[in-house]
């Protein structure tokens, strides 16, 4: 793994003063599921959101100390109802191997969200039970939210219609 050291409690964590509920934790890809599981055990009952960002155009961006930025980033928003607290887990995913393990076994609610990220970014969630496209047609080419997927570049595609019976 290329990212920095992570303690099992959830990686490097920071709070931004003046902005409530913006706690961020960077974890390495290898420690990702373990860290999220640790958060779950610490009282984060719900995975509110899971999305990804393609940082292709921001090569020299600043991330936390000890974290090597990669092209993709999977962002998981965890929510603790009992502590009224949010934490945002950010995982760097390299372009050469765009895959992360699935969180399905920790939070079954990420099923649709991981499918959406797979559909729009092409990030593979290993172990996901039903990793298929969800918003785009299944015969669509490319992953639209990637930054190298031009807007208006691809002609309109239609799913092949069945012929008359």
């Amino acid at each position: 793994m290329t990212t920095g050291e992570v303690n099992t409690a959830g990686g490097s964590s920071s709070r931004v003063p003046g902005r409530p509920h913006q706690e961020v934790a960077f974890v390495a890809r290898g420690a990702y599921v373990g860290a999220v599981q640790a958060y779950r055990d610490a009282g984060f009952e719900m995975c509110a959101d899971l999305c990804a960002v393609d940082y292709l155009l921001l090569g020299d961006r600043q991330v936390a100390e000890g974290v090597d930025p990669e092209r993709f980033e999977v962002v998981v928003n965890l929510l603790s109802l009992s502590q009224r607290r949010r934490v945002r887990v950010r995982v760097q995913v390299p372009e050469s191997d765009p895959s992360v393990p699935t969180l399905f076994d920790v939070y079954p609610g990420v099923e649709a969200m991981e499918r959406e990220v797979f559909d729009l970014f092409g990030i593979v969630f290993e172990g996901h039970p039903d990793l298929t496209r969800i918003l785009m047609p299944e015969d669509w080419e490319g992953h639209p939210l990637r930054k190298d997927y031009g807007v208006g570049r691809v002609p309109v595609q239609f799913k092949e219609a069945p012929g008359p019976r």
């Binding site: 959101d49 999305c51 920790v106 079954p108 918003l135 785009m136």
Partner: protein, 487 residues
Amino acid sequence: MSERSPQDDPGMSAPPPPKPTSGPTGSPRPARPDDEFFARGPETGGEPAGLVAETSEGDQELRRRKATGPGELRREAGAVLRLPEGHVVDSADIDVELSDDETMIINMGPQHPSTHGVLRLMLELDGETVLRTKPVIGYLHTGMEKTGEELTYVQGATNVTRMDYLSPLHNELVFSLATEALLGVEVPDRAVWIRMLMSELNRVSSHLMWMATNGMDLGSTSMMIYGFREREMVLAFFEKTTGLRMNHNYIRPGGVAADLPDGWEDDVTVICDTVMPRLDEYDELLTGQPLFRQRTESIGTISAEEALALSVTGPILRSTGIPWDLRRAMPYLHYDQVDFDVIVGTYGDNFDRYSVRLNELRESIRIIRQVVERMPPGDYRLQDKKVTPPPRARIDESMEALIHHFKVFTEGFKVPEGEVYVAIESPRGELGCYLVSDGSSKPYRMHIRGPSFVNLQSLPVMMRGGLIADAVAVCSSVDPVMGEVDR
């Protein structure tokens, strides 16, 4: 299947390729209309053919039983939800030995009047009982998150307002709050209270719309007429204030687009005074009615643990007894300064979801009355020339104002680098906005966490073991808005 690719045939004018197997005449055995359907790859567990094989990333549809393993069947029935002992679905209950001859997969939607848009539900039925459900979505996908990356922050509110078209002001609000969090600005007090007033009115109109459509799905046409009648009053006020009945683009980064119209207190008071007694009429019409209760009570139940595991929020989560409302738990705007109750249910069935929404209407009106009383004077938007355009009158007399006006609407304003996730309580649940800024005037990434999208995952759990006749009622009680599901 054809070997052509769409690029070879831009005009789509060529006749469809011949289908050798399914001619109505010619073969000794008369071809059955579903021959080709069953011969298709994914249905039989085989490989897809032709163009689909080249690019397919897998079928999105519910697969037939013989193409689905026992583990997968159990997963689809919810057996893998992480539930405490005693709540978990017993694997032995799930009959994996059932053959395809005994069950039937039917499509409900995407063109179905009671799926509230282009939602397609694939239901596996054993007689009248629903065994498995799979929502198939994407029919309304228009790439709004991608569009959002091409629009400035000034234009962005116009884009997001079209997602959840029944509560457009909440979409604008969450986008504006996220932008303001990145900018680090605070909007004037009056703007905050106007935002609260408008978003609560929008919650009223959205819940009324839900009451109307839910009534219609259950066969109460009167409820449909009543719900639309009351909603019309709210929409008329929206039109008076924002100029539009929906997709208002009223709440913008930096404040709101215009001040409230003259006499708004009277309009709002009339709305409150009319809707409040009519909620009691709905009570009489539906709540006590035996037919309605039989169609809703203990139908489509979901437990608190299941709801949490599936990330379900909003009225569905509250109907299971968890008092989670972002207005109370993580207050935004001035919700910590008003008095209201968080409505919770007990059983998590259709009836609880109905009563949670009905009583939330009452609470919203309670909030609206407090906002009318406490509305402070002042400015309705931030007077920061870099964020909001100058007043119209200043443009005629000041060259600088003209330049600022021009800059705001052509270039937009620059937002400092950073990323932020802001969530508010929309009528459907947690509506979140994740914004990443690269320092330019357009969001580098804008992600909207649509509550309907996530809540749809609860449908298979709610429908399992129920009757096909209740499928419409259960689907309606989730209140999905497809514009937000597909974005």
